[in-house]
Each structure stands twice: as C-alpha cells, then as structure tokens.
Amino acid sequence: MELRSRAPEGPLAEKWEHHRSAIKLVSPTNKLKHHIIVVGSGLAGASAAASLAELGYTVSCFCFQDSPRRAHSIAAQGGINAAKNYQNDGDSVHRLFYDTIKGGDFRSREANVYRLAETSAQIIDQCTAQGVPFAREYGGLLANRSFGGVQVARTFYARGQTGQQLLLGAYQALERQVGAGKVTMHPRAEMLDLVVVDGRARGIVVRDLVTGAVASHVGDAVVLATGGYSNVYYLSTNAKGCNVTAIWRAHRRGAAFANPCFTQIHPTCIPQTGPHQSKLTLMSESLRNDGRIWVPKKKGDARPPQQIPEAERDYYLERLYPSYGNLVPRDVASRRAKDVCDEGRGVGPGGYGVYLDFADAIARLGRHVIAERYGNLFEMYERITAENPFDVPMRIYPAPHYTMGGLWVDYNLMTTVDGLYAIGEANFSDHGANRLGASALMQGLADGYFILPYTIGDYLAQAKLGKLGTDHTAFKQVEREVSERVDRLLTARGRRTPDAFHRELGRLMWDKCGMSRTAKGLEEARKKIVELRDEFARDVYVGGRGEDFNQTLEHAGRVADFFELAELMCRDALDREESCGCHFREEFQTPEGEAKRDDARFSYVAAWEYAGAGKAPVLHKEALAFEAVHLTQRSYA
C-alpha cells in the first residue's frame, strides 16, 4: 500500500482552483446512471447526499437513527468558523489556515487545510440561503463571536444550537431530494460491512434495525460520513449511538486508518455524578469567552465557592497563559484541569471538577446579556445539576469529545480503497493533532457541500465500472460473514452485558490512553484489551433474536469493533514517541509541562494498514511537508 496524497502542485492559494478545473467531469447523462452510496446523514453526509443528488447522481443515504435529522451533528452548540472578516479584525483565509495548522500542532496536510479555510466563507453563504437563522446584529448583519485558541471573532452561531440549525439546513436540502426521488433514504439501517470488488468499493452490507434483515446495496462509489468514535471511552460527549463500526469495517477491507490515537478531550463538560452515568454533557466552549476558570489555592478546600475570597482563588489559566487566558486551546485547558485536580484542588463530589465562574461577566455585562448569550446552556446545566450558574459557578471537567483520527484520505477525500471516500469526522481530517473549536462543522460542510461532490466525479469519470448485482459472489460472501458475526454475538449467551464490557473498556482507555499517556500504561492497556476482548467473545450476553428490533445486539456489535479499535489506538499512541496537540506522552514534555513535539522524527501522518486478524497492523507514513508555514513550538503564553 502506498499513500499518494494527490495534493496538487503550485502555490498554496491556487492549488484547489487549479485542481478543480483540472479534474475530470461526469456528463449530465452519465451522472444519472451513477449510483452513489452515502453512509451517514450528519453535516457531512446530508450535505454530500443532497449536493450529489442536485448534480444529478442517484443517491442512497443510510443512518442508524430513525431520522436523518438526528445525526450527532445536531448536538454541536458553539458555532462554525469562517474567514469572512465581517468584524474587520484582520481575519483572512490565510489566518484561518494558519490558526488551524498551528492549533493542530503541525500534524495536518497544508493543502487540505488551506482549501478548508478557502471554502469556509462559501459555507456561511450556503447555509444562510437555506434559511439557517444565524445570530444577527441589530442592523441585520450576521453576528460573530470568538472561540477557543484564536484571537479573531470569526465564529458564526445560532444561539447555542448551531449544529442543529446547520444540520436542519442540510437535512431539509436532503429531504427535498428525497421528495424529488433523487435520494433514497434508509433510516434505522446500520452498515455492518464494506464490499470491495477488484480492489474497488462497490457496495455495503446493511442490517435493517427494525426487521433485522441483512441486505446488500450496490453502488459505483461509497462515501463514509459516519462520524467520530469517542465512544470508545464509553463516557464521552458523543451521542450514545456514535460508533466506529462503519470505518473500522472499511479499515479491515483495506482502508488505512490514520492517527487513531489523536482524540480530543474537551475541557468544559459537566462532571460525572455516579456509576449510573451514561454519557457526559458538554457545556459549549463559547462559555470560556465570559466565564473565568479557577480552583481554590488550598488543597481540599471544601467551602462553597461564594465563600472563597478572591485572594484564595487560583485562576490558573490566566496565571499560566496571560495572553490567551481562559481561551487557550482545548488540550491545554483540559490537561491543566486534570493537573489541578490531581493536585487535590478539584471541586465538587469526587474532587474531579473546576469552577467556571460568570460572576464577573454578569457584573460587567449585566444578567440579560449573559442570558442572551448562554441562556439555554445555563438551563441545560441547571436541569442536570439542579444548580443555577447565575448564582453558583458551574463545575466542569474534561471529557472525550472529538476524534481527529479516522480513515486516511487523499486530497480528493478518497481512502486507500478506490471508490471509497471518507468525509467529516470519519476521515483523519484537517485538524492534525488537535481540533480548534468551531472547525468540525466547518470541515464537515466543506467536505460535503463543496469538495466531495467535485472530486468524486474525477474517479467516476475514469473508473470503468461494470454492472454488478447483489447476487455477485463478493456480496453473498460478505453477507454471510456479517450474519455469522451477528449469530456469534447472539449465541455466546454468557453472563455479562455488552454495556458492562463497554464501561470496562472505556475506563481502561480513559486511564491509559486518555489525556496523558505513558509507554508503560499503553503496554498494559494493550494486553488488558486483548484479554477483555476474548472474554467478551466468550462471556457476553445479548439475548433476543437477530430478526427483530434488538438494541442490545446493535450495541454489542459496536462494542466488538471498539475493542479492535482500542488496541490500534494504544499501538499508535505508543508508536508516536512525542507529545503533540492532544497526544500527550508524559515522557515528552517541556520543562513547563507543555507538549514537546519531535518534528525530526514524527512530522508525519501515521496510516495503519490492517494485516489480518491477530497480525500486527502495518504502519505507513505520509511525510508532512510545510511550504507556507514554518514549524514553531506551539505557545499560548
């Protein structure tokens, strides 16, 4: 397997333009004949499916929820970045590009990131035209706010529901095509495998979650927009259904998996309340614009926050990073929170939390302004904790949130399997080792609206694809394998539930492959994971039938794939003997405890090739060349 990034030649600013005019086009009549399978209906999937159908392709779209509108993108709160420079604060495509590269700690592909910054402005135009009710100023112009890790206000938002509104825009565009008969939507359908014929992705095998029927779908290209895998940690900010199955199965069929260990831990989540905890709730990072983060100076200071005098509070982010203060990037904010809690200065039950205090902002701006900005977030917090942030400071703690890792893709967003594309959070993305706030929505929509619909034509125009039916042996073979996998889960009839296994795996990953990692811990984790996986195979109890709506079975299948992924994550984390972005290896840090990159040895994308069950995966390296930026030690001091 060789990694060809296909990044075009020429000056950075002209690459995409040139590339677009250079790539092959599919004639309108042929477009009708091409059937494209899009798995996922989140921002990336929905926007891609709708745009492809508008272009004239015949599209089938799949999601496991009961409606495409429920894709996890719906939960995004804070906002979406775009280099519009509406605030005239010196923003530009180049600055957004640079911030993203730097925020990603120089572990992403220049050409892709620049293209992302270029298309960002178009996204805002597109969404506004669809009726996305972005926040506005009194004059009627679009409003902006600033977001973690940058010094300009380039984030567009719709109250605290930006992801919802953007997704509804894409969803409505998608439903319009469904109504027009151009897209066939398959909700409550889970992709359980990829079918590759003569080295090309030609279809998928899907389980109907209502009837349990396993069926094949043939296509000329397959697009995976199946989101991130933070749920490998069990407790994360992701929706309960988020999983790795689709891309993991693709990985097993030949798609390289890039930077699996790059997972982002979000600094502002509501701390856990007990063993029953089923997921963690994010409090949008935008809160950091007006909230001040602190802990008591004294260890184990049990006084209620109001009674702790100013002098005895440690606003540690402001202290350590004067110029960015509370707006340092996520990985920094998260790690610092962990540090102060490990020192025993954490607050709240269990001592794993820090204060996010709005008292000053309320005094400065007035209650109504704060309510206008964060009203619904405060309500959400109050609902969950029964505490009102207007009176008591919020308690927050980091939680797994986003996975920069994913399927390796070239400049055309194609994986190492011809005709198989990955977009949105599912690919290894433009965020390098750490994603800046409000950049995932941007990337998902850039991929789906403005990049994939063009680049996929390049492949379809050249690939001479023969007609295939679902009766083709390859499909029958994969269908059989899928059914067998399902049966194995059902017939194990052991003693422990999939949920119990998932929790144990999650705990292990959080401890050993979470916010900070050590060679020793990762080695241990890998061993333990293998043991756990075997135990799972033997001792899991699913119950019910396969030919039925069986939520336990769905979960069991996802947990099984998480086990395999978890092992690869540890291997990748172990292999990368440096600290960069979210990947913090305790052995590699600066005296101030900052991530210490090793560009000489690790300035590459780690793309893992599946070598077969029980065999060690093969590492391929895509060297990262930086023409436009020069590498600096990231510093937010």
């Binding site: 508008e54 319009r176 095509q177 109504g179 027009a180 008969g181 151009k182």
Partner: protein, 234 residues
C-alpha cells in the same frame, strides 16, 4: 432543478374544502355568523322585559322588515337561509374534523393529563350536539309551537311565558344556554386562532375577552327564564 422538485400533482379541490385546516376555517367563519345571530337574538329577546306590546311588536317587526320593498317575511327568510346554511356547513365541517381526529388516535392512552386545554375546549363537540338538539326543540317550542301547550300564533310573549312557567323547561333552557356559553367561550378565541387573526402577544387578552363575551351572553339569556320563574314576567 431550479424550482421545488417536490411539486405535488395539482390537487383537485380548492384548499379550503380539501384540507382540515381549510375546514376549520369554514367552521370558524360559520361559527362567527352563528355567534352574531346569538348576540342579535339576545338583544331582541331582552325586549321581553319591556312588556308584551313591545316584544310582540318586535317579533312582528322581524317579519315586516324591509316593507314595503320586500314582501312580509322575505328578509327574515333570507336571514334564516343564511343561518341554516351556516349551521349546516358548521356541522358538516365539525363532523369531518371530529372524525379525522378520532381516526388519528386509534389506540387511546392509559391517561393523558390535560395541562393547557380548557373544559370549554374539551366539550365543543358534545356541546355542539346539545346545542343542535336544543335548537330543534326550541323551534318546536316557540316558533312552530308544536312543543308548546298553549301556543298562540303571533303572541310570542305569551308563548314564551307559558313555556318558561314550567320549571323543567326553564331548567332545560338554562342548561342549553350555559352550553352555548361554553361553546362561544372557546369558539370565539379559537376562531381567531383558526383564521390567523391572533398575533402575539394579544392572544392572552383575546382569550379573556372571548370569555367575558360568552359570560355576558349566557347571563343575558338566563335572565329571561329566571325572570319568568320568579314571576317578574307573567
């Protein structure tokens, strides 16, 4: 694919009679017409307190309005036709709408706890039926006299008093009028909502006003049988 690709085949019937929303509008308009009658009718009926002459004169007047240009009763009949048409449309719409709603929930709940809706809103349907039956009886009683023991054509005052002096009749009237009141209480506000005339933040006071009007109308109507029973009218 410039304009909406989802264009349905142009539906056969106009939206107003085709859709439930349209039927609700028809119901609202006819409802308001019926409401206006109820108001006018009350105004007329209250003349009963001015004594037999005035009242009978008024009843007579109803028949001879428009004279000499119109023959006796012509205008009255015109009005009656409008009322009949309204009532018919109103009931027709009510029945279609009600059946659609019943069909929309074949399996009922163990219990659904009402939070926002009112008693008036929940009794619209049976209330309507009661009103209908009442009106029939009422016509037989005071218009055609069939249900009235001592009916004297032309002497509306006498017929009325004769009827109400029997307390069960009065009681029945009072109940009916209360039902009409409830119907109008929800109906009037509901009609504004259905016709899209409610604009925030006014709908709160619209509700209040509808209630007040309904109460006044009910009180006005009740006054008559009560007056007869206590012997003020004889």
């Amino acid at each position: 694919m410039t304009n909406s690709p989802n264009i349905a085949v142009p539906p056969p019937r106009p939206g107003l009679v085709r859709s439930l929303v349209g039927k609700k509008a028809i119901m609202a308009v006819t409802g308001v017409i019926l409401f206006l009658f109820v108001v006018g009718h009350l105004a007329g009926n209250l003349k009963v307190f001015q004594g037999p002459e005035h009242f009978n004169a008024y009843a007579e007047g109803l028949r001879s309005v428009g004279a000499p240009f119109f023959a006796r009763g012509q205008i009255l009949w015109a009005v009656r036709l409008i009322l009949l048409a309204s009532l018919f449309l109103h009931i027709w719409a009510a029945i279609v709408v009600t059946r659609a709603s019943w069909a929309a929930r074949p399996v009922g709940y163990h219990g659904l706890t009402p939070t926002e809706t009112t008693y008036a809103a929940r009794t619209m349907r049976w209330g309507g039926v009661i009103i209908f039956l009442y009106v029939i009886y009422h016509l037989l009683d005071l218009t055609f006299g069939a249900a009235n023991p001592s009916f004297v054509p032309g002497d509306v005052y006498h017929n009325l008093v004769a009827s109400f002096q029997r307390w069960p009749v009065s009681a029945m009237y009072i109940v009916a009028v209360v039902v009409v009141g409830l119907h109008i209480d929800h109906g009037l506000w509901s009609a504004f909502q259905t016709l899209g005339l409610n604009r925030p933040p006014t709908f709160r006071w619209r509700r209040g006003v509808a209630g007040a009007i309904a109460a006044l109308i009910t009180a006005g109507y009740i006054a008559i049988p009560v007056a007869v029973l206590v012997g003020k009218l004889r």
